[in-house]
Structure formats: C-alpha cells, structure tokens
Symmetry: C3
Subunit: 282 residues, 3 copies
C-alpha cells in the first residue's frame, strides 16, 4: 500500500492552507462544486471568461476543467487556463463529461488532452473508454449499466485506463460502483461509496473539486504522491457518501436529504475517519 | 376518468426504463431540474451547444425546452434540437418562462411553437394567455395573483388553453393553485399541490422534467395517452409538494427544508400513492 | 440610532408588496439568490439577455448587478439595465465580485460605477478597497483573512468605504466578521452573522438580493432612509445566519444543513426578531 498509510493528514492540510481552486465547470452543478470545495476546507473561484482566466489561474493553486455544458466559444478559455496552470506547475483535474456522447465533446476532450498536461482525468467507464480510443457512443453522460466495473469487464477497463494514463501522463480515476484509480504502473480499487451517489447530479463534478483541493494541499509533499493523494481524495468522497446514506436512511429521507448530508459529512470529516474507513484494494 | 384509472404504473416504468431526458433549460434551476429527473428515476443530460444538440437529442428519449434565461444566440440550438426530437417522435415539453414579460421572450416562444410541434406546453396563466393571443404584459415570470385560477376567470383561462392546444396540437398545462390540463377535447383540473411550491424557484421547471420523464417512459403505451400521462405527472408532482409541506410543518422548517423534502418525496414516491392521493376533476 | 428604531416593519412590507427583483447575477449562485429572494417574500426574475433586459427592468422594482461570472459579451446588457433602472428611480445593488482578482473584473466594476449610479455597493474588504483605489490584487473572490475587519485595519477600511461612497453616492456594505455600512456621513457596524456564512458559497450574493428586496419594499418611505434600510437588511441576513448555525449545531449537521436552514430562517423571520436580535453599533 506504499504511500497510503503514511500520515499525510491531507484533509487537515486542505483546511490549514485553504488553497484556491479555479473551476471552469458547467452551470448545472457549479454551485454544488463550490460548496463541496468549501466543505473540504478549500476556497473555490469559478471564472471562465477568456479575458481573465489566465490571471485567475495565477492567483489559484489548482485548476478544474469540466466540459459538462461547454460551448464552442468557451473552449479557448479552457485551453488558455490549462496551459497557464501547467506552466505554473498547478495540478489540473480534467473531467471529460459526456465524452463520446457527441462528436463535439469527444473532440474537445481530445484537444484538451493534447494541449494540456492534466494531472488527473476523472470520468466514468464510457468516457475513459472513449478517450482511450475504444468505444465511441456511450449513453448520455452517465455510464451505461452494462459498462459498470464488474468482474467481466474489469480487465478491459483497467487496460483502457492504463492506456490513457500512458498517453497523457495523468492519473486516471474511473468512477463506478467501485472506483478504479490507475497510473502507468499502479492500480488501485476504492470500494467506498454508495449507489445513491449516482442519483444526485454532480457528485462526479464535486469529486473533481475534492481531488483538486487535496492535490493543491499536497503540492509540496516529496516524491510522486499524486497517485496516492488522488486515491485518498476518492476514498474521502466515498466515505462521505456512506455516512450521508446512513443519515438519509435513518431520517427516512431521499435524494434531497442525501445531497445535503453529503455536504455535511465533508464539512465534518477528518483524516482519522478517512484512514479508518477507506476500503483500498491494490 | 377515461385512462387515468388504468394501471399505468408510469412511475415504475420511469424507474425500469430510466429514459434519458435532454434538457435545454435555464442556468438558475438546471441543477434542481437534473436532481428532480434523477429523483423520478430518469436520467438527465443538460446540453445546449449548437455543435452537439442534435446528437444529444438522438441519444435521448425526450426533450425539455425552457426559455428561462435564453439568449438570442442560443435560440437556433433550441430550434435544431426541437426539430430533431419531433422527427424522432420524441416527446417535447416546452416551458415558455416569462412569455409576455419581454417582446424577446414572446417572440422566441412563438417561434418555437411555429417550428417545433410540442407535445406539452407548461406555463402559468399569464404565459399561456399571452401565447394564446390574449394579454401581452404579465408581471415577471410568476403569474400575477389576479390571474390565478379562480371561479371568475376559469372559463376565460380554459378557453385560452384550449385555443393554444388547437393551434399547436399540444397538451396545455396551466399551473396555479389548481393545475388545469387541456387538449383539444379534454379538460382536467388537478387539485394537488400547496402554496409553498410557489415560494421555491424552479418548481415549474422541475415539473417540466417530470412530465418529460413520464412521457418518455410511457412512449409505447397504445392509443393517445399523452393527455393522461401528463395529468398523472402533474398529480405526482403536486402530491410530492403536499408530502413535503407536511414534513416541513412537522419539522418547523421553511422554504429551504421544503425544497429538500420535495426531492425526497419524489425519490420515495410510488404509483400506488399517486393513485390514492391524486385529486382529479374532469 | 436615528432611523433604525422606527417601526419600519420592512420585512412585512416586502411580504405585502412582493416586489419584483431583477437579478443579473452569476450562474454559480443564481438559484440560491432566487430562493433567498422568495424566502424574504419578494419575487425574483433572472434575465440577462441584452434583447430584453430593459423591458425586464421596467417590470421590476429593483435591480441586482453581480459580476461573479461575467463575460465581456454580457457587460453591455448590464450597463443597459443599470441605466434604465436609474432612470426609473429603482434601487440598484451592485456586487463587484472578485474586483481586483483580474484586470477584467476591476475594469468592468469601474465601468459600472462610472455609468450606473448604484444605490448600494456590497463587497468584501478586498473588493471595496480595490474600487476605492487602494490595493489591486486580492486573493480570489473571498476576502483574505488578513483583510478582515479587525481593530488594526478598521480605520483604513472605513476610510476606503467612505471614499467609495463619496465618489459614487452609494451606501457601501463591506461584509466580514462584522459588517461595515457606510455612506458619506454615517458609519455603522452590524455584529450579526457567524463564520459559517463564509463556508457556503453565495451568501454574499444572497445578501445582495435581500438588500434589493428591502430597498424595493421601502421605496416610498420618506426622507433618505436607504442607509438604514440597508443596515436593517444586513442585520436580518446576519440573524438568519445565527439562527441557522444554532440549528446546524443542534442537529449535528454541517455546511449543507446550514445552507438549508439559512433559507428556512429567512422564510420564517419577522420584523420583531430583527429588532430584538440586531446588534448595531453606530
């Protein structure tokens, strides 16, 4: 388990450093992403106008690129911010929402991958598969259930993620019933999380923000801990999902309560809980 | 009561089929609309870039067009998606938010009605009245209280809705204290719902999504059940409002709690409850 | 305490008159702003297309301008609406989100101040400081903690706010641990509020909406009560924060619960509570 057991106290670092996370994201979940970043202890700045993105990136400590509702006119701003973040050595988290669902999204996602060296790419099995050159038309923005990470297709999915990691240099996070995290040499499954996370919009986008906050807080950690920092962030988010589901069940609530508790749990989470509750399989 | 009593089990069908609902909607309530569609058991995809809307429509099973914050530059994308949806035989739910509040909105709404054969048009008394050619300047995006569905003006409002239905071929949903659903031959009042639904933004937009999900799930039902499917969806949404208001009252909450409970109730609702609690007047 | 003690019953007036508040705001918090305006008893209309903003302003009783995610192409619409609102004598609340964080934002904010005579300008210490001509590069959109209103820098901050008020004719609201409200002659500190307000996105934007609703409701009050109406609105928002924090603590919740309770408390608040709980220091 290499670096996961070390006492990173990454969440405590987020709260101590309060890194500024520049988010260029979709209008559907932007508010929830901002609130989740705040709940984790970091500070969000949502800015996507081409006139200012470079300056905002310079003020920030990490960048999130999410193409959930991207328009053609906004692509250049995303590329500009991405390139500036890479020059500055900032972690860049890229979410290719719906890659494969339209030629436009697939092309834009590929262009971002060509032009911006991303630190982490987070998507579902469809999106990662498309970007790794496999399939081309998934079902909408959610992973088709046939594409879930099951025993049958796990090998294929891990291969796709590894291929994408090799081509991009990024850590790949393929979220699903279990979350697969892969880089060129390492593979890890995170078993935290609950099905209800799929019944609230933007839980993937919120995870983008959490990963970015954790990477920003861990910037000065020695070595190449990006992989394990990402695993740690994914586990943290999944644990919040589990705790929120318990509260939802206990209160007789539904997806509305769950969404609120998810935010509550992240704002109340600590590193000890993450270490105790994380279900990591290497 | 014609078709309402039949055992449609429409909500169960939504959950079994998980139809993909393409939403071109406003940025104010997009997140709540997505979450409400998920709560009902369907799957939302919010996409409005002209470069991709046709493809997204092709992947989907229904389309929602909502002009809540529409800009001139985005009209063409809406028309393109609408036409493609009609070609494919998808249900199209159109919400002429604020029609009459500005010449721009009124004209855009009329253009959509000319170019796209909508399945359902949902608005308040002002919006429907304007589109039926009656009045021209309502008060903002909410129905003026003087325009509420009361005994005095009910006949006039029914006539306006019927006229719009005849001109467009759509089922008309005029929401208010009681919701009026009209097509060329039928008229129905749904008595479910509570005043607090008017104190949370986007409950109309959320209803658009619910109607679209129900229509998509009921696509293969024989005959012409669009009218009754719509009535069923309107009743379901109103019942969630009633249940949410009860929980809000019991917990001493306000409009914030109510908004959360509304989502909870939809995610926990079942067809039996809809049938038992629906207050339909034909 | 001059006018604060008079029985304004401003919140009751909001609920009786239900003024329509035209908001041109950012896509991150637009939904929360609309819901907060509704919770206060007013009615929001979010519209920012240049084709219609003048007409929407004409329908409305107050205007909120917020540059949180402003693009260059949308500046003209904001100026147009602002000028029309001033012509009509409507209160205009301006929120220079992130002024100083990029040259673009600083310039746009200055242009709005040149072209539109604002009634109230609400920002944090960084933003107000930049617009008063002081510093130029704050940290993101939130006030740096070093800039909080403490004993040490209070004099400097009051001077900056006074300078901006003199130059613009506006009432200046500088929010922080304690909120400073200043006009040319008056200074007031409001001690209501809790730190958790800084851990939810958009609480500043929501305050913009509350101030606008209170100003619109108090339009016909004699004299020059804008200053005290603003103080009253700021106190009301802070009291909601305090009550929401108590409920959050009692329920073991976090920032998600707090955000919901904030809306609850505003929807349940009354003038008597504001008067009893307000902590005003002149």
């Amino acid at each position: 388990m290499e670096r996961f057991d070390e006492a990173w106290q990454l969440l405590a670092k987020v709260r101590a450093k309060r890194p500024l996370i520049h988010c260029m994201t979709n209008y559907v979940t932007a508010g929830d992403v901002a609130n989740m970043i705040l709940a984790a202890g970091a500070s969000p700045v949502m800015a996507d106008g081409i006139a200012e993105v470079e300056e905002i990136t310079e003020l920030s400590q990490a960048l999130v690129l999410n193409i959930g509702t991207l328009k053609a006119a906004a692509v250049d701003a995303m590329l500009l911010a991405g390139k500036r973040a890479v020059e500055l050595g900032h972690p860049v988290v890229f979410d290719p929402v719906g890659a494969g669902a339209s030629r436009f999204r697939t092309e834009i996602a590929r262009q971002i991958l060509r032009d911006v060296r991303c630190t982490v790419i987070r998507g579902n099995a469809s999106e990662i598969g498309v970007l790794a050159g496999g399939r081309t038309r998934p079902r909408g923005v959610d992973a088709d259930e046939r594409e879930l990470l099951t025993g049958e297709n796990r090998q294929e999915q891990t291969a796709a993620a590894r291929k994408l990691s090799r081509e991009t240099g990024a850590v790949i996070v393929m979220t699903g019933p279990r979350d697969l995290i892969v880089d060129e040499n390492r593979t890890c499954l995170v078993g935290n999380g609950v099905p209800m996370l799929g019944r609230v919009t933007g839980t993937g986008c919120m995870l983008d923000g959490i990963i970015a906050a954790f990477l920003a807080a861990g910037q000065d950690d020695g070595g190449e801990p990006r992989f394990w920092q990402t695993v740690y962030a994914v586990a943290a988010a999944g644990i919040c999902g589990e705790l929120a589901a318990q509260k939802t069940l206990a209160s007789g609530g539904g997806t509305g309560s769950f969404r609120m508790y998810l935010m509550d749990e992240m704002s109340n989470l600590n590193d000890r809980q993450i270490k105790e509750e994380a279900r990591i399989e290497v």
